[in-house]
Amino acid sequence: MTLLDVYIQEVTKRLPAKMRADIGLELRSTIEDMLPEDYTEEELLAVLAKLGDPMKLANEYHEGPSSLIGPIYYELYLSTIRMIMPIVLAVILLTFVATSFLRYNGTDLFSFMVGLLGEGIWMALGTGIHVLFWVTLVFVIVERAGVSPHLMRSNAKEWSPEELKEIEPIPKKKAISKAEVFATLVWTAIWGALYFSAIDLIGIYTPREGGGLELVTSIFSKEVLLTFWPVIMLIIAAEIALSIIKWVSGQWTMQLALFNSFYNVLYTVLFIIILTTPTLFEPTFVSYMTNVFADSTSTTVDQFFTWILASAIITLLVVAIISTLDGFRKARL
C-alpha cells in the first residue's frame, strides 16, 4: 500500500459508504494530475500537504448539520432543560425522601440521614443525566428531521408584523403563572410516583418501641390499584398535556377551558370507577375497621365505608365542577 493509498483511505473511511468509491477515485486522479510521471516520495508528500488534513477534507464532504443542536433550536433547548430539570429533580427527590421516611424503621437516625443524603445525591446525579440525555435526544431528532421552527408557531405561517395587532396584553385575572403550572406538574409527578411505588405505605401506623412507626395495615389494596395502571397513565397524560397547554398559552382561553372540563370529566369518572371497586380496600384494613366499630352501636362498618366513599365522590365532583366553571369564567373575562 502506497502513501497515496493510505491518504485516500484516511479520507474515505470517514465518509458514508455509498460515496467512498467515487470520491476515492476522483481524489486519486486529482492527486496524480498534480504529480509528474514517476514521482518521488517528496513530491507526493508535497502534494498531500497541499490537500491537507484528511479529516478536514472528509468533513468538507459531509452533508447535513454539523452540530448536534443548531442555532434555531439552541435557545429552546436550553429553556426546555431549565424548565424540566427542576421539576423532575424536585419530584424524584421529594418522593425519595418521603418514601424513605415512611420506611424508616427506627434504627440509628444518624446513619439513616447519612445514607439518605448519599443516596439522594446519587439519585439527583442520575436523574440529571437522564433528563439531559432524553431532552437532548429529542432535540437532536427534531434537528435531524428538519422540523421547521415555523411549525412551532401557532398558525404555522411566516411571521408578519400584522400579528403584533393580535397580541393583547394578558389581563392579570386571565393569566396563568408559570409557578402555577410548575406546581401542577410537581403535584402530578408526586401523586403519580406515590401511586405506583408507595401506595401500600398509606395505612395505619402504630408507634414502635424505641421510636419509629410500624405499619399495621395498608388502606388500599396495591394489587387492585395497580390493575388500573392504564387508567392512571391516561389521567397523568391528560394532566401533563393540560399543563403544557397552560404553559404555552399563558392565559385562559375558550379552548383551554374546554380541554380543562374534558380533563375534569375524565378524571372524575375514572376515579369514581376506581373508588367503587369492591376490592379497593385491603382486607386487613376492613377487618381492622370492623374491630374499631365493634363496640359502636350507632355506626356499623358498612355505613362507615359508604360514608367515606360518598364524601370522597362528592369532594371529587365539587372540585371538578369548581375547576370547570372557573376555567370558563376566566376564559370569558
Binding site: 486522479s29 486529482t30 494530475d33 498534480m34 488534513d53 477534507l57 468538507e60
Partner: protein, 111 residues
C-alpha cells in the same frame, strides 16, 4: 488581530468561490484543470474546499458530472447544467451590482 482578519477575509471570500467555480464550468473541466484555471486568474482555492464544493453543486443540480475513462487515468468532468447556466447569469448580474455598490461606498468612505 491577524486571526480575526483572516477569518473575516475567509468569510468575505466564501460566497464568491461558488461564482468563481461556476464561471469556469461552461466547458467541461476536471478537478485539477479547474484548479489551474482558477490559479491563472489569481484565485487560490484550497483543494480541500474545491472538491466538496463541486459535489454540492452537483447535488444542487447546477452542474452535471461524468467519468471519462478513455484516458489511462479516469477523470471526473464537471459542466454547467441548463439550470446552472441560468443561475450563473443571475449570480453574475448580482455580483456586478454588488461590486458597483460597494465601489461607491468604498470611494465615499475614503473622502
Amino acid at each position: 488581530m491577524s486571526n480575526l482578519l483572516q477569518s473575516l477575509t475567509t468569510e468575505l471570500r466564501r460566497g464568491t468561490l461558488t461564482l468563481a467555480v461556476l464561471s469556469q464550468l461552461r466547458t467541461p473541466q476536471y478537478g485539477y484543470s479547474l484548479v489551474q484555471r482558477l490559479e491563472t486568474s489569481g484565485i487560490t482555492i484550497e483543494q480541500s474546499t474545491l472538491y466538496p464544493l463541486l459535489r454540492r453543486l452537483e447535488k444542487q443540480e447546477l452542474v452535471t458530472s461524468s467519468w471519462d475513462t478513455s484516458d489511462t487515468r479516469p477523470r471526473k468532468y464537471y459542466v454547467l447544467s441548463e439550470f446552472g447556466i441560468e443561475i450563473l447569469s443571475e449570480l453574475k448580474r448580482e455580483w456586478e451590482k454588488t461590486t458597483h455598490e460597494l465601489d461607491k461606498l468604498m470611494k465615499g468612505s475614503e473622502e
